[in-house]
């Protein structure tokens, strides 16, 4: 089973991102679970969201997991040591930051020795979507790093999932996803 944990602030779209990823994967015939751990949260409070993806129906309803991927979509949460909780040496971290990988590692010591990818999802979402909603660019980066499905297939699915939004927003999100796919390092 592939397990993914998102770290975000309430309002940045991690739940929407986790559900969108689940939706994309369900369209390839996989079984999915997407959920988040809720407190009595206000916008801006740190929170986590989760994806489980498997070939068989997912029966386990417990919240505990050892993530294969950790996606951090808020630049300040990268410095919280909680993001490495329950991870292994094989866990892949994709984090949002304007810094280079080297500069980031010199400050965020808990990420040293981890498989780390960096993407400036905040800047991309601001420039392409017009708002700091870094969830869709993170999806683009995740697809590049994980190679879980072909990027073209992903774009077709995500465009359909976003179809309830106005055309401008859909196009902005698609541009952001493509840019993140190219820019993740």
């Amino acid at each position: 089973m592939l397990q993914i944990r998102w770290h975000s602030r309430a309002g940045q779209g991690a739940v929407t991102g986790a559900k969108a990823l689940a939706d994309v994967m369900a369209r390839t015939g996989k079984y999915v679970q997407a959920y988040s751990v809720y407190g009595a949260e206000k916008r801006g409070a740190p929170m986590t969201a989760y994806d489980k993806i498997d070939d068989n129906p997912i029966l386990d309803h417990s919240k505990w997991m050892t993530p294969d991927y950790v996606l951090v979509i808020d630049p300040s949460l990268v410095f919280q040591e909680e993001i490495v909780d329950n991870t292994t040496d094989d866990t892949v971290f994709i984090v949002t930051s304007h810094m280079s990988k080297e500069d980031l590692l010199s400050i965020a010591k808990h990420l040293q020795g981890k498989k780390l990818y960096v993407i400036d999802a905040i800047k991309i979402s601001q420039e392409e979507i017009g708002r700091a909603i870094p969830n869709t660019p993170m999806l683009g980066a995740f697809i590049k790093v994980s190679e879980i499905i072909p990027f073209e297939d992903f774009l077709v699915s995500i465009e359909d999932i976003l179809s309830k939004f106005p055309k401008k927003i859909i196009e902005g999100n698609l541009r952001a996803i493509k840019r993140a796919y190219e820019e993740v390092k």
């Binding site: 999915v32 959920y35 988040s36 309803h61």
Partner: protein, 405 residues
């Protein structure tokens, strides 16, 4: 005429979205609700469907859950298909009117998202509210995942409105663990779903002004007992209708539901009684136990009321030790599942060794590993042929071991 909603063969929905689509497809005449976490999205989505033209009925905004259920009682007595949703404190506030609804034999459907009862205040899932309403005269159906939340809600209308039943029904799903967990759901298309439920047939509608009716009249000792007995009889005889509806649903969808669900119970020495999302987590634990050579199985009442006494006793006939897992603070007794199952076994002259475990209060995480430990403890009873473990234990509770004998 309401617009049709285009659905894919497979949707990724959480339990709340699944329940609200089922309400939409039932084309409910009146939904009166006062939103409360974690069932808020059911009402919110439904209101959105209404605003977007997918629903013809009325949505009544009220000032409390007591009023929500009262408005449902009024609308149902007037002769319409009626539904609502609630959780926890809202459910508690409704309780007075729940008894009124069932006493007036009104086929209201309520999609409940189970949540702990305060105090201490907690928004997460446990069965405190379900147990609170268990004597209210309603039929209570249990859903373990979003697919079942959808399926049970469709079935609920058909069961409630059957002329042999005419009782209100709740469908229960665990707060957050099901209600906010998106999973793959295979919905029916709108026409098929509506055809399955059928048109609403009003009985003694108050809006039939040629035949004026009074609902909920005062009765006192000459009548009250007879009314309550006849209501109880309807509930006790509803299993026939529930089975019929489940059979018809299976024919339509291929998904088979039973009033008593079991997993690997046929050759089991050890059985766990679990209800809700933890039943599925327990399936993972049972598989692990069997890898270790423990013959474990699971059993769950799909209908918590009417409680399937004899069916459960029959299924547990060859089981040596049974642990009943209750997700509600038992407060001075054993958990409800322990009591019901023990009673069922005793009534049939069976003597499996019974123990009780309390788990997951206020949304406390219960993993397959926790349940595996319970299976191992219960196996000790099976092997010893008598109870060697404590009568009531607590799963994943922080602190020194707490148990009662």
């Amino acid at each position: 005429m309401a617009e049709r909603y285009e659905l894919k063969q497979k949707e990724v929905w959480d339990g709340n979205m699944a329940a609200s689509h089922a309400l939409r497809q039932a084309q409910v005449d009146v939904v009166a609700a006062y939103p409360i976490t974690p069932s808020t999205p059911i009402v919110q989505n439904y209101a959105q469907f209404l605003a977007d033209g997918y629903v013809d009925g009325e949505f009544v905004m009220v000032e409390s859950e007591h009023s929500a259920m009262s408005a449902c009682v009024g609308a149902s007595a007037a002769g319409g298909r009626v539904a609502t949703a609630t959780s926890s404190q809202g459910y508690a506030l409704m309780v007075e009117v729940l008894y009124q609804a069932s006493g007036m034999r009104l086929p209201i459907v309520m999609t409940v998202v189970n949540r702990a009862l305060a105090s201490p205040l907690n928004i997460h899932g446990d069965h405190g509210d379900l147990y609170l309403g268990r004597d209210a005269g309603w039929i209570h159906l249990i859903a373990n995942n979003p697919q079942e939340a959808y399926d049970m809600t469709l079935c609920a209308f058909k069961i409630a409105e059957n002329e042999k039943v005419r009782l209100p029904v709740t469908t229960n799903q665990d707060g957050f663990l099901v209600s906010h967990t998106a999973q793959v759901v295979e919905p029916l298309d709108d026409d098929t779903a509506y055809k399955f439920i059928g048109d609403y047939k009003a009985m003694n509608p108050m809006l039939d002004t040629k035949n004026p009716q009074t609902y909920g009249a005062q009765t006192e000792e000459e009548w009250h007992f007879e009314f309550k007995a006849s209501q109880h009889k309807a509930l006790m005889e509803s299993p026939a209708v529930i089975d019929e509806v489940f059979a018809e649903f299976e024919k339509l969808t291929g998904r088979k539901y039973n009033r008593v669900e079991t997993y690997k119970l046929d050759d089991a020495d050890v059985a766990l009684v679990v209800m809700g999302s933890a039943y599925e987590t327990a399936m993972v634990a049972v598989d692990k136990a069997r890898e270790e050579g423990i013959k474990a199985g699971l059993i769950m009442p799909r209908s918590f009321r009417p409680f399937p006494y004899n069916e459960i006793a029959e299924k547990l006939k060859n089981v040596k030790a049974v642990a009943a897992l209750d997700r509600s603070a038992p407060m001075g007794a054993m958990g409800a599942l322990y009591n019901e199952v023990s009673g069922a076994l005793a009534a049939n002259g069976q003597s499996s060794i019974m123990t009780n475990y309390i788990y997951g209060l206020g949304g406390r995480d219960t993993t397959a590993q926790h349940i595996l430990e319970v299976i191992k403890e219960t196996e000790k009873n099976a092997k010893a042929g008598k109870r060697v473990t404590d009568l009531q234990g607590f799963i994943n509770l922080r602190g020194p071991k707490l148990s009662f004998n």
